[in-house]
Symmetry: C2
Subunit: 421 residues, 2 copies
């Protein structure tokens, strides 16, 4: 009796049988009286296969043409899902991103949604059709060329459409049951989290939880679209992400979950002249390369007039960053660089942190008892992150999970009182 957006990922539509299963679920939602808009990813490994084909033709495919090629993947799965829905007696119409009115910037391969003009979708919904939209793609406002929004961005398409269409909520169907207190591959007793605030999900996504893309959660928060992350292989409720009522935040879980990220690396720039602007120059050089820096630590050498600056960044960007810094070695005047890619980050996240002191102490005590050395620390209002050796990550996640009481069925967090954070 409302309007719902459902998004299905590549693993949910890997073959004809899966597509038929998705069709049955979509039709059931429609029969329950809802307007249904479905956002779909490319089937299984299609995108990787198309990328492979492009690289057989040229080592450097131009972005415009690569987007033209890759968008064929979602076009195919969208049409096939529409056929499967028609086959079981409902009526569906598939639309490309461009037809659906997904207007983007013109940065091929990583375009941003500027606007949604869902005129054709609205008309189709009025006629009682189920609408299928090819995810991950749009059309550039300036050039009218086909664009893509970056890998995994079908989630963003879905949330943006839900916002533009005034949908009651957006369901993201995936191959897991929802968001967990920790990665169940590391902590088998990890529990599914029933509700999260946008802020918590943002922090989790930024801290390595792979379930939703950062940009998708940002969109959901801005448009206030409730998001339901759930399994396409069961009917169990998943994890709801929404604006938590501030009045309830006292009763919210102190810690919602533990995230980890193995993909970080650390660069140390040694013997930087301790002059105003030298550190700033390092970070502007990195920023010019479109690389995001995570944590920064500056060690002033005792008695000297130089300093060492360490920072973390995605390991994939490390070579590019070091190359750019090396080129500016004389200008900045540092002596040399070192790097460490055998590091990782573990974060504890929860809105309850705001009102419950002692979380940092609980976390750090647990790490200390396990003999895990903390290399760097960063915090936000609702998150504490530590950089540690990569080999220690699994154990750190496990001891934190235990320390915050997630192992027990009751879920009571054990938080030391008193000293504050």
């Amino acid at each position: 009796m409302g309007r719902v957006v459902q998004k299905f990922g590549g693993s949910s539509v890997a073959d004809a049988e899966s597509i038929k299963r998705v069709a049955r679920r979509v039709v059931a939602t429609h029969k329950a009286g809802n307007d249904v808009v479905v956002v779909i990813s490319a089937m299984g490994d299609t995108t990787d296969e198309l990328l492979d084909l492009a690289h057989q033709v040229t080592p450097n495919p131009p972005g415009r043409e690569l987007d033209m090629l890759l968008t064929a993947g979602e076009r195919m799965s969208a049409a096939l899902l529409a056929m499967a829905i028609n086959d079981i007696g409902a009526q569906a119409r598939s639309y490309t991103g461009s037809q659906a009115g997904v207007i983007t910037t013109s940065k091929h391969g990583d375009a941003r949604i500027i606007d949604i003009t869902p005129g054709r979708i609205e008309k189709s919904l009025e006629k009682g059709f189920i609408v299928i939209v090819a995810g991950f793609q749009g059309v550039s406002q300036d050039t009218k060329d086909v664009t893509t929004l970056g890998r995994g961005a079908s989630d963003t398409t879905a949330v943006a459409l839900a916002g533009a269409l005034g949908a009651q909520y957006c369901e993201i169907y995936t191959d897991v049951d929802g968001v967990f207190t920790a990665d169940p591959r590391i902590v088998p007793q990890a529990r599914q989290i029933p509700t999260l605030s946008y802020e918590e999900m943002l922090e989790m996504a930024a801290s390595g939880t792979k379930i939703l893309h950062l940009r998708c959660v940002e969109y959901a928060r801005r448009e206030l679209v409730p998001v339901h992350v759930r399994s396409s292989f069961s009917d169990k409720p998943g994890t709801w992400i929404s604006a938590l009522d501030e009045g309830n935040s006292m009763e919210a879980a102190i810690i919602s979950g533990i995230a980890h990220d193995r993909s970080e690396a650390k660069i140390t720039v040694a013997s930087v002249p301790d002059t105003v602007g030298k550190a700033a120059r390092i970070f502007s050089i990195i920023a010019e390369k479109d690389i995001n820096i995570d944590m920064v630590v500056q060690n002033v050498a005792v008695g000297g007039n130089t300093t060492a600056i360490s920072f973390t960044l995605p390991d994939a960007d490390r070579p590019k960053a070091m190359e750019a810094l090396e080129a500016a070695k004389e200008e900045i005047g540092f002596s040399h660089m070192t790097f460490d890619d055998a590091i990782g980050k573990v974060s504890v996240i929860g809105v309850g942190m705001r009102t419950h002191p002692g979380v940092t102490a609980t976390f750090f005590d647990a790490l200390a008892e396990a003999g895990i050395n903390i290399l760097m620390i960063s915090t936000s209002e609702i998150r504490i992150s530590v950089v540690i050796a990569e080999k220690d990550i699994d154990q750190a996640v496990r001891v934190a999970h235990t320390a915050f009481g997630f192992d027990s069925d009751t879920g009571e967090a054990v938080v030391y009182g008193g000293t504050g954070r």
Copy 2:
């Protein structure tokens, strides 16, 4: 220099290597100073694979969604060719049929081109880009939905674009060297025809020569686009199809070639009351099913008041036609139907027939000498066709090829004078 449209079929772009070869040929044409627009089919078996996928999902895919699915094929090959061209130093832009301004009727799977609005193509050409257009597809004028023009219709896209862009000519690259005096698989000494008139090519296409689609040739004739059919695997000149100068038609070859068609079947409706309108009713029933009848023979029974009507049609349409007639058996009042699908058609075609009598005699004498029985005959101003037993087709093509002098190197036709056609 000029403006050229080049079309490459699926076998010319079967894999990455073939796409690179096509890219080199396109760039060479561009470097010679031409504006180049390329129309491309889907790679190799892509269309069949997509059809197979659709049928795994549903036995009856809706036309709109099937068109959405199938058009992904040309989109992929167009993008890949643009990448390959960029890789060797020229600049290319790929466009879907819709982006290229191919406006069609809304009959999915068999849409007709209504108009071409090539604004984006013109702009790209002005900037010096090579333009790649996905063949076989367009966008419906009424619904703005994606349409397809029917199998093999990329040739039609190419000729229509050549007309709309005022191109000097349209090159159709294929896996044979051009149009031959007969199918070289039947007549190894068959020779390539250097030039044909639109009318001859139309008759050949309608008589079973598979090289160009009838609709494509009709378009070329209407827009007066010279078409060059040639091999994508060599640089040899192929067959030019154009408006032959009437002044030269006396010197044109009397017969241009011999075509055959194994796909015909014959239906005989027996004991039809010999009343006004009964025969007409038979043909209107067939026409309502969108089936084209080729030849018709009516035998009046001696002394009786009934007649037998035989006609030929594509064998694929035979079951549907018989079903429709069976349903009208009482209305028409016939006794029963028989059919024969072991028949075929052999045709000799040439504009010189208009001014040279004796062609029919030469053809029929050759068949008689070979002991081949003629079942039905039909003629046009520049064509003579006979229906014969399917087992006799190869021999009929061979003896006609010899009788019209195509076997010798000089190519002199031996035509009996005197009796007229």
